[in-house]
């Protein structure tokens, strides 16, 4: 084996699997099942939202009008684009295009961070305008039914906050992938982790696709 400067390549196949097809199928099924659990997790909050909204649609709409539709729309575009870059990253990994993979992973992370920055800005804006009814902070509402308006904002912060938490976790995973990709990993037969992370990221995107209309688009404008 003269001329070899690296150690012999590790097998992409884990010891418990018989072949790569079995491994890939198992990894995909595992991630899909995990996403089902996430659906049930978010589902509880969507249920609470539905119940409180049906009790007072008008107030929810008025509260929703206080959210910044422009930034919410920008964020939607940003997140959907990040799903695009992620999907392309998966493809790049599968066809062994290292540079493309790294650039696309970076791009996805940049877009994800942009989303979180805009979100943080929106939160700060709410804080300044006394529309953040958490931990005893003052809540100012001039219209009718301040209690229901407060509930809207409580749900807004709970749902987008937990969504943001999932995004942060996703970015953390992508950082790990980025490091591995720069070291030459995750290509071809080793691209499983990228594919599976892509599934997770698309799910997080899908949750936002439901959050956005329910939170931003019900306001009378």
């Amino acid at each position: 084996m003269s001329g070899e400067t690296q150690a012999p390549a590790l097998s992409p196949l884990a010891h418990q699997f018989d072949d790569l097809t079995q491994q890939n199928e198992a990894d995909d099924l595992g991630m899909w099942l995990f996403l089902c659990t996430e659906l049930m997790f978010f589902g509880g909050m969507f249920l609470a939202y539905t119940i409180y909204r049906t009790r007072d649609e008008a107030t929810f709409a008025a509260a929703s009008a206080k959210l910044e539709l422009l930034w919410g729309t920008v964020n939607t575009v940003v997140l959907l684009t990040s799903s695009l870059t992620m999907a392309l990253a998966v493809h790049a990994a599968e066809v062994r295009q290292r540079r493309k993979l790294i650039m696309l992973l970076l791009g996805t992370m940049v877009l994800g961070t942009a989303f979180l920055s805009i979100k943080f800005m929106e939160y700060y804006h709410k804080y300044v305008h006394e529309l953040m009814p958490l931990a005893g902070l003052p809540f100012k509402w001039d219209g009718t039914s301040p209690g229901h308006a407060e509930m809207f904002f409580d749900l807004y912060f709970a749902m987008t906050g937990i969504h943001a938490l999932h995004m942060i976790i996703g970015l953390g995973i992508m950082l790990v992938l980025l490091v591995k990709a720069t070291r030459g990993g995750l290509l071809g037969d080793f691209s499983g982790p990228v594919r599976v992370t892509g599934l997770y990221w698309h799910f997080v995107d899908m949750v936002w696709v439901f959050l956005f209309p329910l939170l931003y688009l019900i306001g009378a404008r």
Binding site: A14, H15, Q16, F17, D18, Q22, E25, A26, L29, G30, L33, F34, C36, T37, E38, L39, M40, F41, F42, G43, G44, M45, L47, A48, I51, P133, L134, A135, G136, G147, H148, E150, M151, D154, F157, A158, I162
Partner: protein, 554 residues
Amino acid sequence: MTALVDPGSITVPDLGPLSRRNYLNAGYSVRSWLLTTDHKRIALLYLMSITFFFMLGGAAATLLRLDLMTPQADLVQTETFNKLFTAHGVIMVFFFLIPSIPAVLGNFLVPLMVGARDLAFPRLNLLSWYVYMIGGLFTLYALLAGGVDTGWTFYAPYSSTYSNTYVMATAVGIFITGFSSILTGLNFIVTIHKMRAPGLTWFRLPLFIWSIYATSIIMVLGTPVLAITLLLVGLERMLGIGIFDPRLGGDPILFQHLFWFYSHPAVYIMILPSMGVVSEIIPCYCRKRPFGYAFIGFSSFAIAVFSFLVWGHHLFVSGQSIYAGMVFSMLSYMVAIPSAVKVFNWTASLHKGSISFDTPMLYALGFVGLFTMGGLTGLFVAALAVDVHVHDTYFIVSHFHYIMVGGAVMGYLGGIHFWWPKMTGRLYPEGWARLSAILIFVGFNLTFFPQYILGYLGMPRRYHVYPPEFQVLNVMSSAGASILGLGYFFPLTYLIWSLYYGKRASSNPWRATGLEWQTPSPPPTENFVQTPVVLDEAYDYKRMDGQLAEGGAA
């Protein structure tokens, strides 16, 4: 890679089990245990942890039953009593029953039964155990720091606003441990789908696998709802978000719906695996295929599906609409049917069998009797007008203990005994084991049967002090509990004893069918020297016994 290994034949030579390399002696360092990805070692890690929690929960129960011998508060202060029954419930439900069979027997047996080298995600499996331990330690901290007194069901607004005990720490502990459940279920589903040995079709699978699969579906879909419920309670406590407290604009009944949406299916997580164990034990000790294999298998799925549709039967007196109550009542009767199907099929399995009464069989038959009784009392509480009277009384307490202890724990112990030789390479002393099984059965009935009567008389649950006319039945119950507690100590003792002094076990001391018995006791780390190929139907005891009559290997 594959060779023709016929599970109906005995092809594994007995080389004196523990002198050769197996998963137990593959490494002796602490590191090799704490960083293992071997599903069998992880199963033993779980076994030690849940036994610890069982003893803790049992200690709480002992103190409760001691205090309840008198109508007054004689042993502990009321705050302590309330913390004790909360601890008992939280520990027994989340840290003992829910993991028990899936995490110990499931982890150990699923790859062996399907002919695989390990589960689909071995490292995730280890993570599951660590997540369970971290959650357990959080909860232990809450207990030692001062306890929590909300009851294991921690209804809002008491838990979200009023209680000044360690609700947050306990909720965090349970939240974390829930992920252990989710990841284990996920692992099992993928393994059963993707890693069965060649020839192992769905209808050749052992019934234990069917029930573990159904359990895993509930674990995966139900546990996240508990997670979000706990999270919302935490947010309400910490940030004042008014989801459940009416003073903050919330709805306390919403908590009950969310909580029971998980916690009802959770009780089926606790019983389905035990049913699977019974379905393995009965055919072995009758030497014949179980009656109605397909129906037993499908009933596990039916139970899993229906389990998600009945949660409202916990809210019959809460203020839920009466029409919703009627729907939930009807569905609750329907969920009972698949369980009845199992009981009838198990009974029919005895017909024309060749029955012996070894310890696992005693536990299995005890299970059938006690589960039948507990399940029948389910019919009582599903009846709306009766439930109005018995809800939140000792009738309910007895109903669920008949199923959880008379059912699930007996099934767990039966399974531990049945697969003990496989897991450890040792046999336990049969005489002591049978005595313990009988002691547990008798002690159990003495403890919990009086509680049905107490409940219908009207004694509410979670009561520290009670009217004096309830004392006689309480004393009977506590006396029974002392026998039951004693009964639990025996297996603890002789099973540990057997590790050092028990007779060595062959690969298949019970001459059972199933791939797990076609490998040495204890198995090598990789489970099978060569991946088995399955040619026969499951439970082919006729062939197994026929070959033995002919003198051994085909």
